[in-house]
Amino acid sequence: MAERILIVGGLVIDPARKLEAVRDVLIVDGEIREVAAGLSKKSALAGAETVDARGKWVIPGLVDMHVHLREPGREGDETIATGTAAAARGGVTTVLAMANTEPVTDNASQLAFLRAKAAQDAKVNVLFAGAVTVGQKGERLAEFAKLRAAGAAALSDDGRPVMNAGIFRRALESAKDLGLLVIDHCEDLNLSSGACAHEGAVALRKGLKGSPWAAETVQVARDIALVELTGARLHLAHLSCAASVEAVRQAKKRGLPVSAEACPHHFCLTDDMIPGYDADWKMNPPLRAKDDRAALIAGLADGTIDAIATDHAPHGCAAKSAGFDTAPFGVIGLETSLSAALTALYHTKALTKRQLVERMSSAPAALLGLKDKGTLAPGADADVAIVDPDASWTPEAPFLSKSRNTPFAGRRLKGRVLHTFVAGRPVVHAL
């Protein structure tokens, strides 16, 4: 007998189909079968498992295209199992795992191994990025065709920019031939050298070495020129400053195939909010100024920034307590991303609910070429989140992630994921 789940009475938000209405959603054997009003009254569906979603949102599962799962190499901080459990808790049903593992995922055999490991351990769908250069050293291109054959979903040296423009140009050209998306972490290492915070009054006061916003924008501008030169698609990771947003806006106006993402910490928080020297507030790029935060929100609202991604970057407590300047960069975010976005974007009326779901689900799914994800259209994978947009809660450790390095700990957020379904299976059920 077919496995049937009926989600009843929720506000279905499916930006890909411009749908925003109270509907019942029928899931059969892991696929969306039907989205319509009054399904629960059909006698043929008597006996289906029902989930009451009245007063809640029913949205396509979130697609987070920027996640670090730390496997292999740093399983003490996170694993595929724990990272994907955290994802499910946050309504994220598909993640793109970055390649800066130890060793770097720069070859087909490791990528194939990771896909097999994920098939066994993962609670949500896991896609893997392959590295752009061997060892992410920025010197020699990784074998893109082999990586693609092994199932790489994108290419990125995230965590380290490819500083050599000549090599990055060749990477874009080869990736274009293979139809692979390149994702770049934009940072000019000569401008950011040794920095641990945003360059500005806050870092000056605290005696911390700052990285100027231009360290990012210089590289964004370079990348845009290389996109124009090569015609390749390029996605810019974790934009953090106003000038970068403006550069992407202008590039899009000229029709260049550039896309961009922003992280919840960057559009929720600013450098002046960092308590003392708490390294749970340290990430790269750093929290910047109020104008930068406002520009990110404006960019998300007008579509300059296509996607919201977490840059979920787990680090253990010992590493994070090594002091602000020496602690590693990165914060976790999978369990709080939707709540943070609802708090900072939806409840402030900067984005509509449909725009928010688009940035977190349908847009990143489209960027990664995932036709059956990011939508609740009949036939799509039944990756679904049920959300209470008004539930207030305060994230606190312990988390499902193995790590607890998040600036959102102890901060009140409005909006929470109640249920998450992956391929029709309930992975998270209401608390």
């Binding site: 006061r205 605290k206 005696g207 003392g276 300047d325």
Partner: protein
């Protein structure tokens, strides 16, 4: 001592009120008048210095000894810190040995903020990264106060590598609280304009900065700043920013010249100025001992009251 001091630590001057800063200066002045050789009898002061220091460390040791405390010397190299122990564990162990005061210098800004609340012992910052060096600023202030009686309406120029200077930051925080006007001067790479947000006037022309000043505090230009590209060469810096007799003459006639040391004669300061009549550089060093006596004693009082 009669004062309202209740803090067991002296981590910086940014978060101290004017009354607390004045309490330290008052206590230092009274130690200068009347010794107090038994005040800290039975106390043990440990020195944790992960950066080299001659002046500050010997000054703190002299201060501790003059108050009757014992000193425990400790160097990071060859210690359990070098064996991977965390700083907190090292300090907890030394506290268990009987240490009542830690005097700490560390290359990392803000390192003591999380550690100090976890210890019963007093923690006194002897310089953390580029962040603060409170006793250095206090001895600068004591030296000025002895000549001036008050900071109200005074203009103090801090000249040199301010980006990397904990002395400049501590001086700024304290001088502003006591009513002085502070001007930062130096080339933009070493004195970024963003400092203005901290309530300081940023001036890149040294003549303009010095005009009408009541004092100038000259900071050392470290050799490595040249390698890091902050200045083209020491000679080039000296041409544009060295405190020469002519430039010193732009200040008020009775204006004072300070330098926290160590000095690079002929780089940031001309010898004629360093050794000239305006210079109070050795007075600063002498006052350092009294300021550190005050810091040790007040924090001890705070520890007892806490």
């Amino acid at each position: 001592m009669t004062n309202d001091w209740v803090l067991k630590d002296l981590l910086g001057l940014e978060r101290l009120g004017a009354a607390n800063i004045e309490a330290i200066l008052d206590a230092a002045a009274s130690f200068k008048k009347a010794p107090s050789p038994e005040l800290l009898a039975g106390r043990t002061v440990a020195f944790l210095f992960s950066e080299a220091s001659t002046r500050t460390r010997s000054s703190f040791e002299a201060a501790a000894l003059r108050l009757g405390a014992e000193c425990l010397s400790f160097s990071a190299a060859g210690s359990s810190l070098a064996k991977g122990e965390t700083m907190l564990d090292t300090m907890l162990n030394l506290q268990a040995v009987g240490v009542t005061h830690f005097v700490v210098r560390h290359e990392r800004s803000g390192v003591l903020e999380d550690l100090a609340p976890k210890l019963d012992a007093c923690v006194i910052n002897a310089g953390d990264g580029w962040h603060e060096h409170p006793t250095q600023a206090l001895l600068d202030l004591l030296t000025l106060l002895e000549r001036w009686g008050s900071f109200k309406g005074r203009k103090v120029v801090i000249l040199g590598d301010i980006r990397h200077s904990r002395v400049a930051r501590s001086n700024l925080f304290a001088l502003r609280k006591l009513g002085a006007k502070v001007v930062f001067c130096g080339p933009t790479p070493l004195v970024p304009d963003a400092f203005a947000a901290l309530g300081v006037q940023v001036v890149h022309n040294v003549e303009e900065a010095l005009k009408g000043a009541d004092a100038v505090n000259v900071l050392r230009l470290q050799l490595e700043r040249m390698e890091q590209g902050f200045v083209p060469s020491l000679a080039d810096y000296a041409l544009a920013y060295q405190l020469t007799p002519a430039r010193a003459g732009l200040m008020k006639p009775e204006a004072l010249v300070l330098h926290p040391g160590p000095m690079n004669r002929g780089v940031e300061i001309a010898s004629e100025v360093a050794d000239g009549p305006r210079s109070v550089i050795l007075e600063q060093v002498a006052n350092g001992v009294f300021v550190r006596m005050a810091a040790l004693a007040l924090c001890d009082q705070g520890r007892a009251r806490g």
